[in-house]
């Protein structure tokens, strides 16, 4: 760079010749140079400021534009890192314990109309009415012609054939939306457990499928949870067993002219309900509407096994006996005086057909089903201890089964638990419970004294329940129940090879309007456990108003009605459960005793 000298020789010499001070020239030049430097620095600084300002402006503009874009655009899933499972967002399937399908989803279409976009509303209405016989042409035409209507649903679900037919109309105002519907491929099988489903909030592009009853409603949140990623809900039910049980029970109900029937089969160790039937039943694909008048229990929607609370009669006697043995008050051979008269609180306690069994041991009280015998045991136990025992078996609250209807099956208990209540409850009157309650109570006896909670969900292992009675008392009760079948009231319950034990119960139905009991309407129950020497399953069969008419006079006792049905059921379902018949012992009691 060329710098101008501060003291240019020519000017200095010239100044000296004129007698001027040459330093003034230097100062002047220095000043000029400084001004020049200052101007340059300013330009440079201004340039830098400009660049900096531009950079900041650009940076903030980019951020602002990006924020604006994010705010204004449709949100979309990050495409690169989502896993493949994110596709499954539909309601989970329901399968049985072996993975067989009980409920699943089907994709189908819904049909809606935009009347304003319609070219020929009248023709569309006519053709739609031809495709769907339940739609009225005049009604559709009126709605299509309504000027205020921009949108209307025509059908919620279409079959592919119907969809093609609607498509062929060629009307641009008729539009399809995708729909997912719930399908129960087995029809009425396990209808009361599954319940049913319907649409919740509906949009054009999709609709919520929500459970309306049964386990679909109870576990609605879980079934809809996308975090399941399509994992099916495994129930404890066994499809084949359920189907066989329904078939046998239906045949028995028809044969015995019963109004309704229920059965519960429970695994005594895990508490799993393998099959639960209530008849009459319904098709959950086309769930009927609840009754608006009359008795709710007449509707096929009513679940007799869970919601129906009945006085289950003599099946309760074993609870008095087992508690008395557990408390050490008696042993199976202690003799009880069952001779009349017996009066409690001013009421006379009678026997079936006015029998008099005399002085008999506790075992025979159960085998012969003596009311006075169990009544005396109940008096010895006392109302307080009886209440505590029945409470520990779950008879005081609704069963914890995983269906919404279970909450409606709260037992009916006496308001004041007097001595008389204790006596009547010991033979199953004055307390109304559901068949499932009874099954859970018998499961505690069959599980050697450990209570189990009935459940519809598949379990991984035995339940760690609370011990409610000693093992010794439970084993003695199992022997008694076996004897009821071999030599007592349930002789038709014998299934060769399966060593069935159980107790019958026949209770007169109370009149709906109060005022005593019907004499010709009964609830016949058989509560069974098998195989008796090592109980694995508990089966409760209840028939509502059965009557057996093969004899000279109609027979209504459980021994003639519920027991043969239960025996047939056990011979059908025990092989399906994988139980081998055991024909080794001619005298099963000896086997029971020997296996202790």
């Amino acid at each position: 760079m060329i710098r101008r000298p501060l003291r240019p020789l020519a000017r200095i010499l010239e100044a000296r010749a004129k007698g001027e001070n040459p330093d003034a020239i230097e100062r002047e030049n220095r000043r000029l140079r400084h001004e020049e430097m200052r101007d340059r620095a300013r330009v440079r600084a201004e340039g830098r400021l400009l660049v900096l300002g531009l950079t900041f402006f650009c940076a903030f503009s980019v951020i602002g534009v990006r924020m604006g874009m994010l705010a204004a655009s449709e949100p979309s899933e990050p495409r690169a890192q989502a896993s493949g499972a994110s596709i499954i967002a539909s309601r989970a399937d329901i399968v049985d314990r072996h993975g067989r399908l009980l409920a699943t989803n089907m994709s189908t279409h819904s049909l809606y109309a935009h009347p304003r976009q319609m070219i020929e509303p009248a023709r569309a209405a006519r053709e739609l009415a031809a495709i769907f016989p339940d739609l009225k042409e005049a009604d559709l035409a009126r709605r299509f012609a309504d000027p205020d209507r921009k949108f209307m649903w025509v059908r919620k679900k279409l079959s592919p054939e119907q969809m093609q037919a609607v498509h062929d109309i060629g009307e641009p105002g008729l539009l399809f939306g995708p729909r997912e519907m719930r399908l129960y491929p087995n029809g009425a099988l396990a209808a009361h457990v599954l319940g049913g489903a319907s649409f919740g909030r509906e949009g054009v592009h999709s609709a919520e499928v929500i459970g309306t009853a049964g386990i679909e409603k109870f576990l609605d949140e879980e079934l809809r949870d996308p975090a399941r990623e399509g994992a099916p809900l495994e129930l404890s039910l066994d499809l084949t067993v359920q189907s066989a049980a329904e078939q046998v029970l239906e045949a028995g109900m028809t044969l015995l002219n019963a109004k309704g029937a229920a059965s519960v089969l429970m695994d005594v160790r895990t508490g799993e309900v393998i099959s639960i039937v209530s008849l009459p039943d319904f098709d959950p694909n086309d769930r009927p509407n609840p009754l608006v008048e009359g008795n709710a229990s007449d509707s096929p929607l009513f679940n007799r096994a869970v919601q129906g609370v009945y006085e289950l009669g003599s099946t309760f006697k074993i609870f008095a006996a087992v508690q008395a043995m557990d408390l050490g008050l008696v042993n199976p051979q202690t003799v009880i005086d069952t001779r009349p008269p017996m009066k409690v609180g001013g009421h006379r306690i009678g026997e079936f057909d006015n029998h008099n069994y005399g002085e008999i041991p506790v075992e025979t009280v159960i085998v012969k089903s003596s009311n006075r015998g169990t009544g005396k045991l109940a008096l010895a136990i006392g109302p307080t201890r009886q209440q505590a025992f029945l409470k520990s078996l779950g008879f005081f609250e609704a069963t914890p089964l995983e269906i919404v209807e279970a909450r409606g099956g709260a037992p009916l208990l006496p308001e004041r638990w007097t001595d008389l209540s204790a006596v009547t409850i010991s033979y199953g009157h004055g307390i109304s419970t559901s068949p499932l309650h009874l099954a859970a109570g018998y499961a505690a006896i069959a599980n050697d004294g450990i209570a189990v909670r009935p459940t519809l969900l598949k379990q991984r292992g035995p339940q760690a329940g609370e011990r409610v009675m000693s093992e010794r008392a439970a084993l003695a009760a199992q022997v008694m129940l076996r004897k009821v079948v071999t030599e007592g009231t349930a002789s038709f319950g014998e299934v060769p090879g399966y060593h069935v034990g159980g107790k019958t119960g026949t209770a007169d139905k109370p009149k709906e309007r109060g005022g005593g009991y019907y004499t010709d309407k009964v609830i016949a129950t058989f509560a069974a456990l098998f195989p008796a020497h090592d109980p694995r399953y508990v089966l409760v069969v209840t028939l509502d108003e059965p009557v057996e008419t093969s004899g000279t006079k109609p027979r209504r006792t459980a021994g003639w009605t519920a027991v043969p049905v239960a025996a047939e059921m056990i011979s059908r379902i025990a092989p399906l459960l994988g139980l081998r018949p055991d024909h080794r012992s001619a005298a099963p009691e000896a086997l029971i005793e020997a296996s202790r």
């Binding site: 495409r79 690169a80 493949g84 699943t104 029809g187 099988l189 499809l239 066989a244």
Partner: protein, 116 residues
């Protein structure tokens, strides 16, 4: 030298720009492929669900029971009963083979023998 460096830098910028564009287009193509695959998986799942529902529908116990009844003359199918379980003593064991008669001496060698 300086010119060469400038040239080199410019070429590097162009090359990296080209590479970035190239990778960007490839990534987008892959993402589109992933979307297609995902759609295919969704469709396959839907088809699978329908097939499973149909399988369950065709195998519903009512239908199988009716079919077994209809074809009883040909198939003779009955529900499983306890008496259909066999016992071990019902199994016909094959007759015991005759005891070996070793009358002729045989040469034994260790050729091909495995261990002891």
């Amino acid at each position: 030298m300086r010119t060469f460096l400038f040239l080199l830098t410019a070429i590097a910028v162009i090359a990296s720009g080209y590479w970035v564009y190239h990778e960007n287009y490839r990534t987008h193509a892959e993402l589109d492929r992933v979307d297609d695959l995902r759609r295919d998986i969704g469709a396959a799942r839907e088809r699978l669900a329908i097939l499973r529902a149909e399988w369950a529908y065709l195998n519903r116990p009512d239908r199988l029971r009716d079919l077994a009844d209809l074809n009883y003359p040909r198939l003779g199918l009955l529900p499983l009963r306890p008496d259909q379980f066999g016992r071990v003593d019902q199994v016909a064991y094959p007759a015991l083979p005759d005891p070996l008669e070793i009358s002729q001496p045989v040469d034994i060698s260790s050729h091909g023998a495995l261990g002891q």
